[in-house]
Symmetry: C2
Subunit: 326 residues, 2 copies
Amino acid sequence: MDDNSSSILAAASSPSGAGGLGFITVHAPATVANLVCGFDVLGLCLHEPYDIMDVRLLDEAKVIVRSADGYPLPEDPAQNTAGAPLIEMLKEVDENTGFEVLIHKRIKPGSGVGSSAASAAGAVVAANHLLGNRFSKEQLIQFAMFGEKVASGVKHADNIAPCIYGGVTLIRSIFPLDIIPLTTPDLFVTVVHPQIEVKTADARAILKHNVLLKDAIKQWGNVGGLVAGFLKEDYELIGRSLEDFIIEPVRSMLIPGFDELKKRCKNAGALGGGISGSGPSVFMLSKEEKTAQDVAQIMADVFTHLGIDFHTYLTKINGEGVMVQR
Amino acid sequence: MDDNSSSILAAASSPSGAGGLGFITVHAPATVANLVCGFDVLGLCLHEPYDIMDVRLLDEAKVIVRSADGYPLPEDPAQNTAGAPLIEMLKEVDENTGFEVLIHKRIKPGSGVGSSAASAAGAVVAANHLLGNRFSKEQLIQFAMFGEKVASGVKHADNIAPCIYGGVTLIRSIFPLDIIPLTTPDLFVTVVHPQIEVKTADARAILKHNVLLKDAIKQWGNVGGLVAGFLKEDYELIGRSLEDFIIEPVRSMLIPGFDELKKRCKNAGALGGGISGSGPSVFMLSKEEKTAQDVAQIMADVFTHLGIDFHTYLTKINGEGVMVQR
């Protein structure tokens, strides 16, 4: 893999192929999907962690995706979360062009903070930049959702949209695509990633196809409250709205210590939080940095006590999304 | 009934009982609950039509409710939508006080624009004014919901909250009560009331207890979109969010001509709309008065063609709610 890495980095300073202007590096950040009550429709973008992606224009219609870290990747780029979106993008490009992508994977796959979305979103934002930004953000999301389909079998945009737009985004609808960027609240986000495996496909499979109407009503009351809380900058309302009567009761069973963790974090002053995406990561929102630090300590205590390895991140909400390095 | 009417109006100018300060008249407006996607959680307040309610303080702990229009009312005030809330309020009042209410009913019961909520909300706002405004709006809603329970068997606040707060309100939760006043958009509202009977209790009974998760997801995407549309004053987003995959497909079967009506109104430029509350009234939102007039004409055409009597109202969103006449 070192060979791949050096060959691409060499291209960066080389006039060969698409030339010096044909190379770019982007930071593709982690994201928190669902935001407890907003299953499949809400997500927010984090500053940390992020993948680093080096993307080079090719003068032939092909897509190459390589890992800089030794992660095994499918040989067929159509089976790769970064490759599939680029193949879709190339269908809309007339000229004889392709992309070579080198991924420095810092967001652990399967952690529940949008690792696949970062690869997909980072690839299309970088490629679009190399093509002179000819595609809109909506089009980039359409391309990037092919990466999510590779990863989980389902097109969804609740990680991709905040990764591309930044901030908190509402995905009102997938078909047709209707993305509503909301805001970038000045909140601290503490995330813990316990080192247990929860596959997105499995986390979807355990959900019931039917829900009680009375629970659905509570849920859309909370979605309305959360959207209003973000737009009115009413942080207490955000906290009250972070409850989930449908998904969390089922999925939290896959995360040891979840109930205790959530209760202790809220007692310590966190506004609220829950499972990030399909888990196993758990996130908490806090108004103050000190609270967010206390929350990180509680997260560490809980998983240390359970004998489960973990990482914690203390970060803020990222209003920019995928960042093009100049 | 004329006798009752004159006895109360006489009290208005009489120094007897609670005296001249012990009498008040309020206008209690109609409301549109649900707003298509927001079943049980969203509602808005109209300027027209409204009930006129004369309320007088009594110096004994009793509640009397009378109709000025000859509508038959239950003798037991606890069985009346205005009486039940006042009985609840009196439980929180120490002094030996009661209320006599005369209702000039202009909002036709069973029309689906919050007739029972207007009686309940008007009664408690008037009574609270006579008591020196000692109760908060949240407390008034708690009292008024006892009127909705009398009317439909279920406590709900999606008419009462906008009737008391004005504008568009979100009821994030009933237990515990959490009302989020959103905004008063500068939109025209056209309402048609076809003279067919749809009882709230029946309209609730035909709903399924279970809904598909995939439909619930679309629904809370739309609730989020509608709340964002109101707060961002994005009228096109409001229009796109006014769709309902759960309630309208069932309830619209009770309203002849509904599908044609909705389609023609949207084609004429209405942002969108649907069943008001549990029906049979149908409402449409429009940006321009001319569009709202065209919509009223379409509504008239449809029900004339069907041979169904109807009333139409062309009004705006009322930011004040129940109005105390000075």
